[in-house]
Subunit: 340 residues, 2 copies
């Protein structure tokens, strides 16, 4: 009797594939383990490839997300991976499983969300696959991007002493999810709308990623999809470093703070382990932090310094004067909190 997948965890599962895929194709520059795979097909540019799978009732509830929101979000999530490499998005493939009884209007909404987001970020839907999925909608989107060969930013490039920066707000998406789960009675309508929008309509930071890459300001970069602690943990692991995060300096929105106060919760938890913010988290050498902040301001964004890379392993969080290494480093699809 073989043990169940849940005993392995999501990272154990990925490792299972990573170990077997050791036969390197001459075109592969980066394989499993970064936001995108990086291919060298000749020339001065690299090809970036990323894919995401969204399942009804696992990643979204049809009642919580309109078809158009779902389309937008599926696209945005993949574009965010291209942004995290410093790339530009070129083309997308959509593999779609749909229940045959679904209304055509729902599919048109999904399409409008997908195609609208693609158009806003300058890429095209070039192909895909459509199948019947009686058990619930399945959306698998793949995006191809590109970046100049010497400007691709990996998770693995972090250096000791690098400042860890991100643009805020962080935690709004998790706060929005809290509302969808029925929380937040008494929250002001404009706060509610802002937090729901952050959850339903994340915007990938392609311009910021490209600009940081072009100016060679980031040693390492990732997008905040699993939660700040876990995503910074990926940079630490790939860079062979540790990091300290200052929870007191997190860029939280006023709306998230007000919701947290109303519920007796700490908004910092949404930022640290909520995920789905799709903001870029980037590691900048100390001497370039001011320039990175200027680049952010030029794009209408405010960079927050969240901590530093250093020796050791894993992420330690400084919070209310105490430093600890959180056991819960984010979302594991197959772990004890899985399948939420």
């Amino acid at each position: 009797m073989s043990p169940p997948l849940s005993s392995l965890g999501e990272f154990g599962l990925v490792a299972l594939f990573e170990r077997a895929a050791q036969a390197r194709h001459p075109a592969t520059r980066v394989g499993i383990g970064d936001d995108c795979a990086v291919l060298d097909l000749g020339g001065l540019e690299r090809v970036l490839l990323t894919t995401d799978l969204l399942l009804e009732r696992v990643h979204f509830e049809a009642a919580w997300l309109s078809a158009e929101d779902l389309g937008h979000k599926s696209m945005a999530v993949n574009l965010s991976d291209v942004a995290a490499m410093g790339g530009e998005a070129v083309a997308a493939l959509l593999a779609l499983g749909l229940p045959p009884g679904l209304e055509v209007a729902w599919v048109e909404g999904l399409r409008d969300g997908l195609v609208g987001c693609a158009r806003a970020y300058g890429l095209e839907l070039v192909g895909g696959d459509t199948v019947s999925a009686p058990g619930g909608a399945v959306v698998c989107l793949t995006v191809l991007g590109r970046a100049p060969a010497d400007e691709v930013v990996l998770r693995s490039g972090g250096q000791p002493g690098d400042r860890v920066l991100a643009t805020g707000p962080l935690g709004d998406s998790a706060a929005g999810l809290h509302l969808l789960r029925g929380g937040g009675a008494g929250l002001a309508p404009e706060d509610r709308a802002a937090l729901l929008l952050a959850h339903r309509r994340p915007e990938p930071q392609l311009a910021l990623g490209r600009e940081l890459a072009r100016r060679r300001l980031a040693h390492a970069m990732i997008d905040v999809s699993d939660g700040l602690v876990q995503d910074l943990g990926h940079i630490c692991e790939r860079s062979g470093l540790g990091a300290e995060l200052d929870a007191d300096g997190l860029p939280l929105s006023a709306a998230a703070r007000r919701l947290a106060a109303l519920e007796g919760l700490d908004a910092r938890d949404w930022a640290l382990s909520g995920g789905e913010d799709y903001r870029l988290l980037f590691c900048v050498p100390g001497g370039l932090a001011a320039e990175a902040e200027r680049v952010c301001r030029g794009l209408g964004l405010e960079a927050a310094e969240l901590g530093r890379l250093g020796a050791g392993r894993g992420v330690r969080v400084r919070r209310d004067g105490q430093v600890s290494a959180p056991a819960d480093q984010g979302f594991d699809h197959f772990g004890p909190r899985g399948a939420r």
Copy 2:
């Protein structure tokens, strides 16, 4: 009240997206509607992109297909799309949804099938996504290929008078499915094994596709995934032509013929509308048919001439001296025969 998706059919669904995706990216050479999308990222080569979604209980029954077969088949199906463009496969992304209670040994089997097939055809698994799928396994594979810019073979290039060729056998996969559904009592074990293998372990014809493309022998090409009539129909539609298929000349295996005789069925139906054979179907100018046949023989394959492209619309089938246009032109996921 919006009508249900099933009223639209699979091709209506694709058209819904095709119409909306009209904003052409300068890199797009071929978008929705061929075996692969074709991108021009600069240089003398084109990038080919294709994706396929396989769902448990829709595309496969875990009891009918071992995990290793499923892994192999998922990869082979995508590689067959690259073969149909005349391309070479470079890299694959795997998006995987799995029930958390699944055994690790099953996942290892799936991986071994996928990676084994990738290795056999010279490409690498470079990334993906893993999520929990309590409703049943979901496998979405995306393959990136490449081909010299002037050697990409489209569905749309067919010319009147072109000979329609394929290498056999055709229909074995559908015959194998017939066995899995409980048919074929009394069939010889070696016939049973051969037909099941054809269904479970299709081999993509990458070498054949590349060679036909390199020698510029094929005006148009597609792989037989939906069924011969429907797939030739795609070439006709994109080329603005009609075609006549000679059902009496179909390359059927002796095993499929014996199974059909045993069951009182006609093996030609498996070839015409069964699908999943993943053989290449290609249209060759009359003067080059002999050379195309030589290329096939050089690869240990036997080419069969199935008919010709000509004026008109759609596919007509000549069978036992009668010509008819089959109403059932193959498998529609969302049509009346959908979700099988």
